[in-house]
Symmetry: D2
Subunit: 412 residues, 4 copies
């Protein structure tokens, strides 16, 4: 299989950096694929692009080099120093392919963090054209079969009345009149879909979730997936909430308190941007639990934690004979180590979809997202089953027998 | 539908008492059905015996009356005082139907706790005949359609070389020769199955898990289910472990520490009896997680906690780029409030199976047990799906449309 | 010793109700004195007013009767039903002595909760006169030696520029001109001190902390103590923070997240009132820990928890060789059960001070408060030592030998 | 001041290695003194030997080099790689001074871990003479003013009937007859005290706690301190338990569950050795809390955690009106990073005592130990106060004014 291009919007941030460090470390045999869903049978048996065949580029509005970001991260890890040394040159080469991006309508905090952006006086159509040119140049220069665009930039504020953009015509009219509400993430998504690049929105930002952009993806037969990757506390919620529901235990309150100290946390200190994150985090419990329990999610910025996101959840529930009981958990994870392998998984899976002519929404990717586009199922096990079923369908079509459990073990 | 008899082995213990208090409180409109799986659609739409139609009786080796057990429990709750007052007479009536049981081969600690048992010098066949007589008398006197036997007695020590009893002939030969290894739980199970009473083993004791007894259940076409109800920490494990596996995160260690203060805890202080419990608790992680992680479960007796079982689990796992992360949870639940509704659920579901001629193992009941007989699937969501599929099959066969989610809400 | 009057501002709230239920239950032999600091030697050996000699009355702006408050509380406990039954008549008698209070300048949320208050168009001097009349009438009618006034009303918003009222003249001038910033708690404190009633501010509200009122207390030789009783999370902080400091471990971040569901929590949902609470909670770590660690305290309203206040604290600290480590704790306590005995303790101790002519500030009571007036020491053990030293000084002066540890045991 | 020799028994273990890495890193300006109690005023103002003036040597029964131990530790840290590189040569030099030690009567597990020991057929007096020769040679060759001996070897099993050795004569008679119960730690202690080397027993092993050895220390006027350094869970207990006691809250149960994965954990898997540890850990609560609460401490070996010791404590306590409440905490610390700075502190403080002719027990060092020899006070704050008072006495005697809080800040 030919190489696959991966264009990261927010290429110099923590998640992008960790994804690239990891991909190159896997390619060089410096680390294994633990944490990658696509490394597990039966998904691993699909004809996916190899991790070593991924060629990276991207946009950013920060000037801190990828290698510098990686070095800062290595102080607390991941990555560790040895792994970083092994891929340092690769990172420098990738960095030379990073182009100046846009931060239109991302909120004040993102603006304040931006070092350099596409000129603020350019028209939106001009910005979109520039992005398209950058994508086309990357594809041409790297001679890759396809380019997957992944949004891993800082979270934007949510936009009001998103239904304004519910068809493509309305979206393009807004572009033409330089609509001040169209956020950067949707400009990137539009450019990607026009360039027939499969698109993944890893963040809670608007991206391709607008009706007009979904229409475009269908029209151009481009696969896209989103939104808001499910990496930590919400992942646990989607595994635990079905337990309470299935046992007919009545959740009275579910309190979630997240603390983290990376740039993501800093951006979320701005209440407007935080709202985007909270909207998708809270939602999932409302869907999984009956009776509308009290449900609060807090995200606070705690600088000393760096990339380590810690969540404390307190679940107060009622059982038989009105007995009140509690469960609480603390999750301490490296945000980047949890997110990065999923970026690679999603790239491989949307590339696979594109190669098989499966444009539009990708419901079998629901397990990756807090707010999976076009999917109402939030039960994690059922979401996993849907991905496995997708893999088995393809394997059967290809005459491959999914390996059994015994063989799976051997892979490890 | 006619009344259904429920014969509880260990009728004066906490779990049995709470189940009876709850059933009578539901029947009298004093409480709701929160915590009962059979109160949720689509299972609730099956033609199950009504909670108010259950008629209770049982065996015990303790002389403390059910009402007295209930009063002791009400000091810390559940039940609360008002509920107890409402059902006190019912409990006294039930208590008059409790017969002296046997504690053969249950281990020293259970022996020490027993006030009165069937004479120790009786032969095993004589003990079995007595149990059968008691069951037949109960059915006759209460004029019930069928009697479901449920083992909720204290945990026995596991028996060595259980495969000795792998066919019915061997089992019956052992009975004849007064085999000193045949535990009480299996004598009860044998009597129940001979009387064609559906049988549920709620505990980790041997019960009907022996090959010979499974053979008998098939031969007599009697449904039976077990073993070791999944009420607390292990329930959470079966919901969480698939999350780690599905995300290809490598669990390095999973430490579980349980503390509790009821009779169950006291019995488990005896290392032999504890072993029975630990065998099934640890097992589930080995099945759900690859790579054979370090996996320890401790159960300690902490008198001040009474019926409140508290578990602390610490999960150390590795992710991408060899990043080590942790999750920990604390579960604080009333053992009886969690177990009791499941007793009622299982009674209703095996009665349903019996009414529909579905003898033998009941794989769709796997979600109720730590060691579901005849089922290898330990993923809780998949186990729930299997129960739901069972319900839908029956509803379709009966021309009933399973109500959709919107209607489910109305039930609450 | 003659009876001692206890005048509770906020007499129908949870803390007041629990204090009265407890005092009467102790008096009637229905419960013990666990949780009361004054029940421990050597403090218990002082010549303190007996718990059974306390006569209660108070002000409130709510019409819900004390007995009704107690009944609502008893649903989740404390108190339990038996205890409540034993003191129900006492509570009704006390309720007949409750007078309509004032809620001037307590913030919108408190206003919204008030059923009835002293007329809003009365002048401040008129309000103060009414309070003084109520206090005098209580003392006269109950024929008590002295009346201790305790503020247990809902938390007010903090006042700006409190130094405006730094001397008595300025405070009284403000009274005269109906200063719209003078909060209810300070009106009560002024009235109490003028009536020569020992005064305790159990809440974070302003109370007698103003310079002008301290001056008045000195002038009238009336003991007073405050402010903001230390009952839960902050108590733990004051025990733990000295451990980190003493071991030269560097706290990097100390995150505190409190959830509770009582009226106090409801009032704190109003950001203005919450600020009063947060000011004193955060402060203590700044005093106990060097290096200005990141220090956040959140208080959220979680209705299902009722009076049970749960705190999760996460402490990120650095040690030798720049090693980063963590400690976290969860505290689950009944706010009222923790606060009520301290109300009784403080009443007894300020009555003791008054009886011994010890007017003004009471530095030996620092252990009871988050922001002890006139004391900089926040190390809990040292605060305890100061109370013990006070007791020993009095005992020595009285020729009493403080009992040794062996004898203490006997008391339990 | 001249250099001070530090002779570590167990010189190649984790704690010793971390102490040496840390001391050399401080000496070379590679790290700071966070975690060292002697770096805080007023103790830091004493005339203590400088960290850079410490010269290390020691005994061990393992052949793994110090540098190798340090490298293994650096994989998870501490130390980090940069720090290790900076001191690698120092470690190699120190290693050349390590002599073969003895593991007499340390239990089977320690035996199994030993690579090489002083010949098992040597008489005890011969072993003691060898140790004394090694100490004397070290002092002579390094030309140090004094040698402080610190036991940081793996925990031995406790010895039965320790009162057998309650006077020096009995101890020496046991030596002469090759008493098979005299453990290695006491042989080292005897040798040290005979050589007039100040001695610190950092572990729960017997060491100099025998009456006969205390007598020897007094006779020779040699300072000694022990036993069982208080680094983690017990440290927290000694800070928290006085809070419960001081508030007259009744602890019903205090459950402690420790998991760790280093050699210490491995040795503790042997029940005999574990007992030594548990004896001192549990004891402290019995002393600090009245009413004999249920009090269990578990220590389990969890290999994946390495040097990171995690403790979960669950405290069930009763308050006013018989209200039951809970507190739980999780402590996650690097055992070595917590222990190592205390080794350096103790070396400096017993050297100081020796320089000032303060032989025998050192009660002001109680805060460092779980079972401080000769001290009954377990309240951490009071123990800290005792150390501070010691420092202030010396400073006053020397005419030095202890710096106030404002100045302390400047040090940081």
């Amino acid at each position: 299989m030919e190489d696959t291009g991966v264009w990261l919007v927010g290429a110099r941030g923590n998640v992008a950096t960790t994804a690239m460090v990891g991909a190159r470390a896997v390619a060089r045999g410096e680390t294994n694929t633990t944490g990658m869903v696509t490394a597990r049978p039966p998904v691993s048996q699909l004809d996916l692009p190899g991790v070593d065949s991924l060629v990276f580029g991207g946009h950013d509005v920060q000037e801190t080099r990828i290698l510098e970001t990686a070095r800062e991260m290595a102080e607390r890890g991941p990555p560790d120093q040895d792994t970083l040394d092994a891929v340092a040159e690769d990172l420098q080469e990738i960095d030379s392919r990073v182009r100046t991006g846009t931060a239109r309508n991302c909120g004040r905090t993102v603006d304040a963090l931006a070092d350099d952006t596409l000129d603020a006086d350019r028209s939106l159509t001009d910005v979109v054209d520039q992005i398209r040119d950058d994508l086309a140049a990357f594809r041409r220069e790297q001679d890759v079969e396809r380019v997957v665009v992944v949004n891993v930039a800082s979270t934007e504020a949510p936009i009001p009345d998103a239904e304004r953009y519910d068809d493509l015509e309305a979206f393009e009219a807004a572009l033409q009149r330089d609509d001040a509400d169209l956020p950067a993430s949707s400009l990137y998504a539009y450019a990607a879909l026009q360039e027939r690049c499969p698109y993944v929105n890893f963040t809670p930002s608007t991206g391709a979730s607008l009706g007009g952009l979904r229409e475009l993806a269908e029209a151009n037969d481009v696969p896209h997936a989103g939104q808001d990757a499910k990496t930590g506390e919400t992942l646990v919620k989607s595994a635990l909430a079905p337990m309470f529901a299935g046992r007919n235990l009545r959740v009275l309150s579910w309190e979630g308190h997240n603390i983290l100290g990376n740039t993501d946390g800093e951006v979320l200190e701005d209440d407007a941007n935080k709202q985007g994150k909270l909207d998708t985090k809270g939602d999932i419990l409302d869907r999984l639990l009956p009776g509308d329990p009290h449900n609060r999610v807090r995200i606070d910025y705690t600088p000393s934690l760096g990339d380590w996101k810690t969540a404390w959840d307190y679940i107060h529930f009622g059982g038989f004979l009105e007995t009140e009981m509690t469960m609480q958990f603390t999750w301490e994870g490296s945000d980047s180590a949890l997110a990065a392998p999923l970026v690679l998984d999603l790239v491989r899976l949307v590339a696979h979809a594109d190669a098989h002519g499966e444009g539009g929404l990708q419901p079998h990717l629901a397990s990756f997202f807090k707010a999976p586009l076009g999917v109402d199922e939030h039960d994690l096990s059922r979401q996993f089953d849907s991905l496995e079923a997708y893999a088995r369908r393809h394997l059967e079509a290809d005459g491959v027998t999914a390996r059994d459990e015994a063989e799976r073990e051997v892979d490890r």
